[in-house]
Structures are given as C-alpha cells and as structure tokens.
Symmetry: C2
Subunit: 497 residues, 2 copies
Amino acid sequence: MRPLVTAVDITLDRPSPSDKRADRERLLDGLVAQGITAPVEIDIDLLRILPSTLRVHDFRLQPTLGFTRDMARVLSFGGRPVYALAVDIGTTNIVASLVDVLNNKKISTLEYENPQVEFGLDVLTRVHLAMSGKAATLHEHLVSGLNTLIQKLCAAQGTTASDIYAAAFAGNTIMTHFLLNLPVHNIPVEPYIPAAHRIDFMEPKDIGLKINDRGIIYVFPNAGSYVGGDIISGILASGLYKEEQPTMLIDVGTNAEIVLGCSEWIMVGAGAAGPALEGGISEIGMRAAEGAVYNVEIDKNSHEVHMKIIGNSEPRGICGTGMIALVSELYTKGIINQQGKFIGFPERIRDVNGRQGFVLYESDTVSLIIKDTDIDNFLRSKAAMFSSLYVMVKSVGLRFGEIHKIYMSGAFGAGIDADKAVAIGMIPDIERSRLIAIGNSSLKGAEMLLMERELLPAIDRIGAMITYKEMNTEGDFMKEFPAALFLPHTDPEVLKG
Amino acid sequence: MRPLVTAVDITLDRPSPSDKRADRERLLDGLVAQGITAPVEIDIDLLRILPSTLRVHDFRLQPTLGFTRDMARVLSFGGRPVYALAVDIGTTNIVASLVDVLNNKKISTLEYENPQVEFGLDVLTRVHLAMSGKAATLHEHLVSGLNTLIQKLCAAQGTTASDIYAAAFAGNTIMTHFLLNLPVHNIPVEPYIPAAHRIDFMEPKDIGLKINDRGIIYVFPNAGSYVGGDIISGILASGLYKEEQPTMLIDVGTNAEIVLGCSEWIMVGAGAAGPALEGGISEIGMRAAEGAVYNVEIDKNSHEVHMKIIGNSEPRGICGTGMIALVSELYTKGIINQQGKFIGFPERIRDVNGRQGFVLYESDTVSLIIKDTDIDNFLRSKAAMFSSLYVMVKSVGLRFGEIHKIYMSGAFGAGIDADKAVAIGMIPDIERSRLIAIGNSSLKGAEMLLMERELLPAIDRIGAMITYKEMNTEGDFMKEFPAALFLPHTDPEVLKG
C-alpha cells in the first residue's frame, strides 16, 4: 500500500570529511534510499530543528511523510502512530473513521449529526442562510462538529488528534463548500456554478480542523452543483469506473443519487427519493441508529410481526431499509393492495386522527404505527427511485437485464433486503448475485484513498468522465412515475427489463 | 522572458447552461489559454473571494502568478505593477535592486550596511554569538535591515511593498542561514556541515520579510559551508557554466572567491584576500561609497596625483580598486620598489608614528596617508590572490594562457583598472579583452532569475557541479605565495603563464 501519509525508518551516514552533505540533503537522500521518489519538501520551521534532531537521535529518524499530487512533504521527524481520518459529510449526518495507516487497519467509525441541522434540515434553507450573511457561522458549526467527532474518536482510542496526519473528506457540493467556507451564492441559481470543482491539498489551519498542524487535507472534487464528492468517492469505492460492462450505483442519503456507467462513460442523476428512504418522511421514521427497526417479517398465517432492531433494544422508529421490508411484507402478505391501501389483517389496523394505521409495535411507552399516508409517501419515493433507474437505463438504450451489477449504498446499503426491495418494485428484478450492498460508499472511497494515494488520478478521471442527467423533470420520468406508484408496478415485466 | 512572477490578462466566458464549469476551473482554463502550462494552485482564501471577484469584474481578471519549480500559484487577482526584489546579502553590505518584471526593467538599486555588523565585522564572531543563544537576534537584525531597505526602495519609487511579489536572495552560506534562521552550529566545526544546501520556495512570513504576503521567496542554494549562494549566483550571471573552454570568475567581497570551470566542471576556492581589497584593512580603506578614491594616476614627471572619487566629492578614503591603482602607480612611477618600500618622491613621504607614509591627499579636515604597513598588508592580499589563481589553474594542468576569460566581480568589479591590476601582478597578464569586469555578479544572478525562471534548473546544475578546493592551506599555495609578494612577481614569466 502507498498511503497518503506514512512513516519511514531511516538510518543516515554520519557526516565526515569525505561526506559533507548538508543535513537537509542527507535526510532527502535517506528518503530516496527508502524508495521515496517524489520530490520531498521540508518546511522551514522543521528544517530549523533538523540539525539538532539528527544529532540527538544519532542520525536515525522516523519521519512522517505526507503525499500530495507529485510531491511529498515531511510532516514530523518522529511519528508513530500515524492515523488518518476519512469523513463522509452528509447533509444530515457526518460519519468519520480513524485509520491506522502503518497497519492498514480501520480502527473505529463514529456517526454524528451534522451540527448545521439546527439551521435547517434541508440544504436549501442553509444555502439561503449562508447567502444572507451566515456563511461563516455555518462553516464554523460544521468544523466544530468535526472537531468534536475527532476528539471522540481519539478519546475512544486513547490517542491524540496530533497523531492524525491526514484527513480526506467526501460530501455533496454544498456541504463541501460549507466545509471550505467557499461562497455558495451561485449554486442555487441558474446556471448553478460552484466556486470550485477541485481543491488543492490544504493545511488544517485553512479550515480550522484540529488534527496535527502539518497534516494534509484532501477534499474529494465535485462534478457540478448536483454531483458531489460523495458520489465520486462512491464511484471510486464501488469500482464502477473500472467495469467493462454497464454498472449502476444507487446511493441513498438525504437525496438519492443514481450512477450508470463503466470504464468508458459515467452518467449521474439525482432523484428526490432520498428522505423517505433515509427515514426522514414518515412520522415514525428515523435514521439507522440504535432502536431502529431495520427488517420486518410478517407470518403469513399467524400474522405475527417479527422485527430486527439495531442494538436489540426496544424499537424507537423505523429506518429506510426497515420501511422497505415493512411495505414489502404488508404487500406480499396481503395486508395492503397494489395501491398501498389496507385490505386485510384488521385486528392490527387502527384509526389515527381519521387515517388508517398499521400497529407495528406497541408498549407502555412506545407506539409505532404506520399510517396510510406514510405508505403513500413511501410509494412516491419508491416510484421516483424505480422511475429514475428505468429512465436512466433506457436513455442509453439498455435494459435492466444488460446491467452487469447494481451497487447499493447509503441508507440503501449494508442492511437492505434485496428480495424485499425487488418485491415492491423499488429496484429491478435481476439476478440476486448482481445486487450488491456496499454500505457507506462515500466513506469507503475516502478510506481507500487514505490507504492508496495512487487513487488520486482515478478520482480526477472519474470527475472528468461524469455527465449529469436531470431526472425528475424529464418527460420520460413523468411518464413512468404513475405506473411505478403501484406495487410492484402496473407492468411487472418492466421490472425485469 | 518568463519571469518568476508575472501578471496575465484573461477574459473568461460567462457561465451558461451549456458551460457550467466552476469558477476555479474557469479561471484555470483561462490561464491555460494564455500559455500557462504548469499546474496552478490557488490558496483557499483567494478561492473564497474568486466568485465575487469574477462577477464584479465581469469575468475579466489580471491575476498575478508566481512560479515555483514545476508549479504556479495565483498571488493576487489584480496586480499591476508587479515588482520583484533581488538581494545580495554580503557579510558587510546588503545590496538590493527592484525589478519591474512586466517591463523587464531594473528600476533601482540600493546598498545598505548589514545590520549584523554591530555584532562583529567578521562572520565567525557572529557565528559564535549565534551558537551562544543569539541566533534569533542576528536573524531579526538582518531581516529588519532588509525590511528597511525594501521600504527605502519603495519610497523612492512611490510604490508599496505589497507590489513586490517575489524576492531572490544570494549570499554566502552563513548569511543565508542567518536569513532563514537556520542553525549554524555545525558550520564552523569539522566537517563543516550546513543545515541545508537547497531551500524550497518560501513565503514572506517564513522569514518575516515585508513584501506582499503571498510573495514567493527564493534563496540561492549553497554547495557547502564555504561555497555560498552568492558564488552560485555569480557563476550564473557570468555564464561560466555554459562556457566550452576553461573560464575563471574572481569575486572579491569580504572574502575573495575564485571559480575555475566550464560547462563540464566547476571548481571553487576561497582565499583570504578579500578584506584588503574591499577596503577593510588599511587605515584609510573604505568601501566603494561616496568619497572613496577608486582610481589614481601619478604623473611620471611632475609627480602630480590625480584621483577619481565616487560622487566627485572630497575624498574620505580609498576603496579596493583605488588601492590597486595607487600601489600600481607607486610602483610603476618608481615611488616604491619591488618589495613595496618607498624609494622615491620624498617630498610626499612623511613619517607617521615611526612608519613612512605617502600623502595621497591633505586638506584642513582630511588627511589620506598610505603607510608602508598598509602597503605590506595589501601586498599580502595581492600575493594571496595571485597565488590562489595560479595554484588553481595549475592544479588542473592548465596555464593562464589557456584560460578563455577571467570575469572580475564584487569589489573587483565594474571599477577595476585591469592594466593596473596586471602591472602589480595581482591578476595574470593575459589579453585585455579576456579580462572582463562584471560588477556585482551575485546581485546580477538574482536579478536574472527574477526575469527568467527557466534558470532554476541551471542553478541546481551549477550547485551539483561544484567541487571545493581548499586554497590557503595547500602546499603549492605556500610555495607560490612568497614569490607573489614581490611587485609584480619574482618571475614575471609566471604572470603570463
């Protein structure tokens, strides 16, 4: 592996009358001898302590090195452990993981609500706030949340933030702009222009991040206002950009993004399917945290409900994959019809404020009831998702049967029950081995880069290959959407493509 | 010309639905269109104002760019004028010139005493002071002197220091270490190891220099504790490194340095000849400033003394080239003999504290008398100089007749009367067209780099080619020295080689 930061053991010859190389050049030669071929920079203030450091340690050092594009930089003269931080900055949640680069090991992952949520759940509210003079506040809240997250990760590992020598961030274009304190003014107005697609490597002080002062900061580029670094990181993590045959990546977060492509071309479209799937729309929806129902089975005969709950605690709500499972079970077990209306199992149906609801769980303190309006909302999301997939695949003249693999990421990630998603017509009915859940692909791409700096050119290549396809306003989408509102679809043949 | 900093006029296409490039990439594409092929970095804080700057100026900008090795960096978004600073940091004097890079024009040069002189005239005193805890003070004095010089240069031009976007420094190894606040502890002790030979490009804040905050700072590399950046810069300025035939460069400052080489090899030796020639030894010696006698003619018959004086004022002392001219005239007009003892013109010889002295000038307020001890000192310097040249040329199996050109620089520079220097046997008696005075070659090399960044690889090549030859301790030197104490030499044939 060639990580973004590393430590190298070097033992240098002592100076002698026949070897009068200066300390700096002696060190650089020692690095070359250890296979560091990139030009290496040493900041002047490190250079100032190099002569004494070399002599105190009898010309043996273990410098920490950071690699930017074609350069390397000395970050310290003696560094073990060497940690790096991967961060997925979501609109709603931030997920960070700490990587021990010398041992090629992820040591922990932590999720934290994006502190900007207090300024508005949806991103447009925050953009307008930024445009009305609150940009610095939004930036500071985000960074202060990141610093808290870093403190927690370090405390749990008994390490300090100064051992973190690199951080890689992947987020949507607006979150990235907030992180960098770049103006977002031109993003929400035609023709939707970000301040930057790509950002040069930065230092922690540039954004106020509290890791090692000399640490290197990388931010995944975006491919436009609607194709963020999180998608590019996800494409990297999935390997879609290396596939010879057309492959899809579905990433569901606060928004749903759909990628279709291969090593020759990549198309990205965004849909509005996200919030319902992340657990943000139904009244009992929640994100995939402790107490969330993430899978549901309903016995066909006894009508008994079995739930799987994160943390095995009492259920507090239902997350995106739980909702998929629930609706799938309600439909396949004959409790709702093709339109999502309750038709069976009346002993569990209850009237709530004039709407019908299905009692999923009830105790003295908790009551989880799915109302028909929640199901309607969900069906709109599932229809939007399927229509987007269908329109995108059709737009390049392909059928689902010709899609090599479908990677599912984000809220759609690790926990999804593919059979149930297929049963409700949310994703196409292709061979199950070709439906692959890959968890948080945005975070995973950032982690991969931390361990393999040679992925930098691949990231740039992905960014350059992407074309953006506006989905929800497409005529085709509007045409397909109504049919997809049905369970599983008005024409099940469409699901098979 | 490809200067180290420049400004580029660009007019960018406005964003449109068919051209959604981000502001950063739009700017970079505009720079490529103007022929900037190196990767261009934009600091995050400049990027933060790019969107508004572009729109306020209707997508027309004139960014100032600085070039480091294989990279360029945006230094401002609107910069005219663009100035750069070349500095020769001598042990005794600092000389700086201000260059208008857009017009390829040197606009002024100023000389200033090195403020470190108050800590000791000679460099070893300062090194010992630095080693005993005063390093920061020495650094600060030097930089504060530089900042004063910059203020004066700017005031004289009616400009501000923020218009200076680059500074290139050439100085001996110790002065360079003081400038950078690098430790000098290992320089004066065997095996004489500098902290660094080469320094990466720096920012003004790294050394406290008051030019534009984003300006780029370049420091000429050294080739060891005794071969400084001033010599490398001088070699660059003279073009010696491109010569096909063996060529010499003599640079006389507080020390005298001799370079012999061509495009294939370069040898540098240092002699102790300097101070006497810079005007530092004789009681009436002074540097080449207003009031300094820089040339002397003595009428053979009338014995009248004609002096040329810097600034045409009343003479205050005699500088190095004046001393060469005076001793030459005293000898060729029969006033001193081969050993430098007074033998003629008794009406101008006077007894001073038991020594004989020649009255060069006398008024109510000024009395310039050259004593026989001054002449002895001078003859030791001239003997050291000639012996060094002779030993070095001989060491590579050459004769003076085979030396293509001899460039004379420093105190030996612009003002030297080559005939007179030859007459006293200080420099070899070769064809006069091959004896070329080039002024301050260290400053000139720095000025050249400011105007032509493609010289960077040449500078590195020069540094790598240099071998250092210890002169004064060589057996050959000791053998040649006594004969060279004579005027012009015990064996005038040696002068012709």
